[in-house]
Symmetry: C2
């Protein structure tokens, strides 16, 4: 009864844009507190207005600096912006490193900017579920632009940044071989390419390489008459960041005018539902740390049955157990 | 009938260590071909002898060079070794970059070495399922040591490298901030730390930092009287690699003598079963691209219901549908 009253107040406060209320609700999302599922359903109902932007890039591409500059440029145009930074570090590191990045981002005490980090391994029920719930919260709270920032490595990180309307991939000149391999894995998800550190002499080669790669990739995101731009940016002195913002606006307008926004929303919703299903499955299995599970585990360890057979039997028991 | 005969031949050939048969069965694993589930159950039954080693490290730590040197050192001791290299690049890049790394690794035509790359995004039914099936295949085929190598970023990549008996985390001096953040996320999974490029003047600082971090981390893997060593290595000229191999042997002996191998096998089997359950769920959902799914998706898009409610209804329908 008390929770209910509290929740109603919290919903109103979030919709009014109270920073404190937003932060509190996000904490509930992170701990996957089921008491708040009703309030989140209400939030979801109200969301859907913001421009959701994904920014990803390889380590060393200067994403953080770009993000800070982009946030300032958006604010220069009077629009409000929420940032969800996916922290690649673990609970073990105490988020100290990301903390520094976040502080660097803080545009003094501007209430038109809300920044929150999410730990990759911290979010109960899955990174994607939590991140997209937070997108809804910031959206319903009235932020004009919402940025999801991830490092461009790892399936979850790459997937979640695609759950945006417009995805920006940040490259930079002069990175090593490992990084090139990682980069190759995220190039195709870009609606907009940024080549950061463009003041460096080797930046032109990076731009040329990227141009050639896009030219040969006919299956790229340009299929619907959107030509993926490659923007030289030097974020450390804000060069080119206004062009990036312009390209984001153009991409948003393109999504609307071409009708592609419909397909994209559909893809995002599908992704989100599937990730939520997966989260539920995981919870069910965690709850069924029971006799059946232990027995199957013992038999797998004795190599009597394989993991595949064990998995089939667990699915059968989960079904019977607790899913209505 | 034909498949059955073929499969029986294939199983025998794999158990005999035929490189061609191993490669063919791995391809079946990658495409998640259900026709081979019986043969894989047989393989699982026979496996369990090899020492499974996970090697991970941040981009730029020189993992590939270390791996090549380690493989040569293991071969120098007459033992056979299988390597599963998890490719962080996507199908889009055609695996060209990893191809180069693999070529670099090839120890001429030595039949005592088997190297296979797995694409992070390529494996149907999940990276973990495929990787651990391949571990079984190489194990049953008689390889003494099996190495799983991943870049140390991304939940899947970090998880799968922990599905080993002994996990090595590779660091190197002089890496950037992003890399430091990533590194922080994998330090705690190490049974053995390697500081590569130890010939560099700043390597001592890396070793000191790591030593201090381990000293303050009482929750580390040293809980069962295993003191996680920090080994300076210069893989490019093979310095320290013999020490790494020695540490791996010591860790294996420790797992046996302390009985910790039991808990570790249990954890790996549990992880594997859960990942397999998840793969099945995903297949079920992919199959149910049906009226129910489309209807729920439409309602979510109209913001009538939230993703949470949709997920609950999908679970209910999947249960009724196709799981025995």
């Amino acid at each position: 009864m008390k929770t209910q009253t509290f929740s109603k107040g919290l919903l109103t406060e979030v919709l009014d844009g109270s920073t404190r209320a937003i932060a509190r609700l996000i904490s509930c999302v992170e701990t996957n507190n089921a008491d708040y599922s009703e309030i989140l359903a209400n939030i979801y109902h109200k969301a859907g207005q913001a421009h959701v932007v994904g920014i990803t890039g390889v380590p060393g591409s200067g994403k953080s600096t770009l993000l800070r500059s982009l946030v300032q440029t958006i604010r220069g145009g009077r629009r409000t912006v929420g940032v969800i930074a996916i922290d690649p570090s673990s609970p073990f590191s105490g988020g100290a490193i990301l903390g520094d990045r976040i502080r660097m981002l803080q545009v003094s005490e501007d209430p038109g900017v809300f920044i929150r980090s999410m730990a990759t391994r911290g979010a109960l029920g899955g990174l994607a579920r939590a991140t997209l719930d937070v997108v809804d919260i910031l959206d319903a709270a009235g932020f004009d632009v919402i940025i999801i920032e991830t490092v461009g490595v790892g399936q979850d990180e790459v997937d979640v940044v695609q759950a945006a309307h417009s995805t920006v991939v940040v490259s930079a000149p002069g990175l090593g071989d490992d990084i090139q391999a990682i980069k190759a894995g995220i190039l195709e998800i870009a609606d907009i390419h940024v080549v950061n550190k463009s003041d460096r002499p080797d930046a032109n080669k990076t731009i040329t390489d990227l141009t050639q790669m896009l030219a040969t990739n006919l299956a790229g995101s340009s299929e619907n008459n959107w030509t993926t731009p490659i923007l030289p940016v030097s974020a450390s002195n804000d060069h080119g960041v206004a062009d990036l913002l312009k390209a984001l606006e153009e991409h948003r307008a393109f999504l609307q005018s071409s009708g592609e926004i419909v397909g994209r929303r559909r893809r995002i919703a599908m992704y989100r539902i599937l990730k939520t299903v997966r989260g539920f499955m995981q919870e069910s299995m965690a709850m069924s740390q029971n006799a059946i599970m232990q027995d199957l585990l013992d038999r797998v360890l004795a190599r009597e049955i394989g993991p595949r057979d064990a998995a089939l039997q667990i699915l059968a028991s989960v079904n019977e157990n607790n899913l209505k």
